[in-house]
């Protein structure tokens, strides 16, 4: 594997570590600078109940057109200094790259219209679906599935997308099993061994396409991993501390995108983005209270502390009394951003950040690990690791340690069931072999092929074993 980058943090001074500002801002051709001092709204939209097929495609496109119109017109009306629109393609629009490309064209068409007519600055993030799973998948890096992912990326970029993104899923089936069983070593294998390797291959390709098409490779998220844990924890199906530890472990995997050349802003639903920001200095998109339309959350405010873009995660095109839901959420995001930006302008950004953090930090370990101070502390540990495997393991143990001491210091509420699991996870980690090769061998022996088939990943066991 290519040697690791980022052996030091981009931030060591907590005072600089704040929303709206990134050490490596992303400067866009229309003049918008992400991480350059202003928090921008990032609106994410999706289709209402409807089929996507050849027959319905015209209707699909007109749905997207209507949504982008509503969003742009609201952004103009409320004088937003700029807006980012994210479209997470739905599966048929990646299985059929042309459909994804057509969606991009329609969206960009409306956005260009608002720019030329009203001067509204906007950027389009196209998120391709990682369709590399399911019964018909033959291989992760060749064959129909891979080809369609790549074609969709290239086509969307050529059709005018400003940012490319994906929520990649290499190793996900292993992780699903890990979540259901609260099996931290298996999560570690999924993320730190399989996932990180998959990310490297995938992101090398995305960065290459971006360079060739003059597009910005933005970032990835652990949606299939830590967000699954988050939703499960939220339903009280698994302990919250698992979801918190999992989130920090995921940072190492998502970070690989940046190691391979992604520039940001990292994707909204990757709450682990705060660790990427700490370690690399790239700007990040985050989501919180105004993403309740997509899922309930225990990090509604604290997630904004370090946001450079502020997102609603996803809302479908249904009518509310005040208008279509994507337009309604655009308005909410714009006001949220005004609040943060005005606080900055008045010199109260730090206080606002601290208020946002204090709002949630104490009530949930998933919130606690998003506190800027905690992020820097744990990040400092993570970068000490010499391999992705080591870093992921450190992420887990450092988080366990941090949560325990936060509880002891009265900074975090944890009930006895949660505390019990902290012990369980600590024990799980202790029992794991320290050697990556040995560990890998053990995990592969204990996994079925439908959860992880090394052949499909070109997973070279000897390379791991060195």
């Amino acid at each position: 594997m290519a040697s690791l980058q980022f052996n030091e943090l981009a931030y060591t001074n907590l005072d600089e570590f704040i929303y709206g500002h990134a050490k490596k801002p992303v400067v866009c051709s229309n003049g918008m600078v992400i991480g350059g001092g202003t928090v921008y709204p990032e609106v994410n939209l999706t289709l209402p109940t409807m089929l996507i097929d050849t027959e319905t495609m015209p209707k699909v496109l007109s749905q997207y057109e209507e949504m982008i119109h509503g969003i742009c017109s609201k952004a103009h009306e409320l004088l937003s200094p700029g807006i980012i629109i994210e479209i997470e393609l739905l599966p048929p629009c990646t299985f059929n790259p042309q459909w994804g490309i057509d969606v991009t064209k329609v969206a960009k068409g409306v956005m260009n219209e608002y720019y030329s007519k009203f001067g509204l600055k906007s950027l389009l993030r196209m998120t391709v679906v990682d369709i590399r799973e399911g019964k018909t998948l033959t291989h992760m890096y060749k064959g129909e599935h891979w080809d369609n992912v790549i074609k969709t990326f290239r086509g969307c970029a050529e059709a005018g997308a400003d940012f490319l993104a994906i929520e990649s899923i290499g190793g996900k089936h292993l992780h699903d099993e890990a979540v259901m069983n609260c099996d931290l070593p298996r999560a570690l294998f999924s993320l730190g061994v399989v996932g990180c390797r998959d990310m490297a291959v995938l992101w090398d390709e995305i960065v290459k396409i971006s360079t060739e098409t003059n597009c910005i490779p933005s970032g990835d998220t652990a949606c299939g991993f830590a967000n699954t844990s988050m939703v499960m924890a939220h339903k009280n199906f698994i302990p919250k501390v698992f979801a918190a530890i999992d989130r920090v472990m995921c940072a190492v995997r998502t970070l690989v995108a940046v190691e391979r050349g992604a520039l940001g802003p990292d994707k909204d639903c990757g709450y682990e983005g705060v660790y990427l920001k700490a370690i690399t200095g790239i700007p990040i998109s985050m989501e919180g209270r105004t993403a309740a339309c997509a899922h309930s959350s225990s990090v509604g405010n604290i997630s904004a502390c370090l946001a450079d873009c502020w997102s609603n995660e996803s809302v479908e095109n249904v009518r509310l009394l005040g208008g279509m839901a994507p337009t309604v959420y655009t308005e909410q995001l714009i006001y949220d951003c005004r609040l943060m930006n005005v606080a900055s302008a008045r010199g109260f950004a730090h206080e606002m950040r601290d208020i946002l953090s204090e709002s949630d930090r104490m009530y949930d370990p998933q919130a606690y690990i998003l506190d800027p101070g905690v992020v820097i502390k744990i990040s400092q540990e993570i970068v000490k690791g010499k391999t992705h495997f080591e870093r992921t393991k450190i992420a887990a143990s450092a988080t366990i340690k941090e949560l325990r001491s936060a509880f002891q210091d009265g900074l975090l509420q944890l009930d006895t069931k949660e505390l019990k699991y902290l012990d369980i996870f600590e024990k799980q980690l202790k029992l794991m072999p320290n050697d990556e090769a040995e560990f890998t061998q053990f995990m592969i022996k204990n996994s079925t092929l439908d959860k992880f088939d090394p052949a499909k990943y070109d997973f070279n066991f000897n390379a791991v074993a060195k």
Binding site: P48, T49, M50, L51, P91, E133, M180, N181, M232
Partner: protein
């Protein structure tokens, strides 16, 4: 009367060794094998289901209990006449075509299994034809469909239509679920029921099979 408390508790604890020990104890004491299963093993599992429902147990704990119950059943099985196993009804479950969300559906399957139903899990991205074939093959009484995407919800409708076409709509009850699904949608597409979570799904199936 044999006291099943210890066995049930071992299931609740998910303690494989204890379960096997207690089952062997009961077998040695010549307890009716069906009673060992129903009162001891499934009895314990029922408590697990109840505790999960009120957020008193986590999924991994439920899975451990289920595994220990199964270990116990394996020991008793040889003593049972063929086919004597209790099955409250067979449920065919899967996520509909075009949709790869796995976990919600799996949890529903798990809880149904824990409650004594036989569950055939077809996985994700399952076509109407595959559902139909599985119903026929396994004498399924309940068809349980999951969808997490607004763009795959309508696959539920086509699956139900396929059942009608195959003339088997009256032989089965169709239940649906997943984040974007609502009772209203269920009524709209003519499903027999909707449940918002795994515990509710178990109740729903139990009611429908009465």
């Amino acid at each position: 009367m044999f006291d099943f408390t210890g066995l049930s508790n071992a299931v609740i604890e998910g303690d494989n060794d204890q379960v096997q020990a207690k089952v062997n104890e009961a077998i040695s004491a010549n307890v009716d094998p069906l009673a060992i299963i129903n009162q001891g093993l499934i009895g314990g599992m029922n408590v697990v289901g109840q505790r999960f429902k009120v957020n008193d147990m986590f999924v991994p704990e439920v899975l451990m209990s289920a595994r220990s119950m199964n270990a116990g059943i394996e020991l008793v099985k040889p003593l049972l006449a063929g086919g004597e196993m209790t099955n409250r009804g067979t449920v065919i479950i899967g996520t509909v075509k075009g949709d790869l969300h796995d976990i919600g559906k799996s949890l529903v399957g798990m809880m149904l299994e824990c409650s004594g139903f036989k569950v055939i899990d077809l996985g994700v991205d399952v076509s109407p034809e595959e559902f139909i074939a599985a119903i026929k093959e396994n004498d399924g009484k309940i068809l349980a469909l999951s969808a997490l995407l607004t763009t795959t919800m309508l696959s539920m409708k086509s699956t139900i239509e396929e059942c009608v076409e195959q003339g088997m709509r009256n032989d089965i009850k169709v239940i649906i679920g997943g984040a974007p699904i609502s009772q209203e949608f269920s009524d709209q597409i003519g499903a027999d029921g909707y449940a918002g979570d795994a515990a509710a799904a178990v109740e729903l199936v139990a009611n429908l099979l009465q």
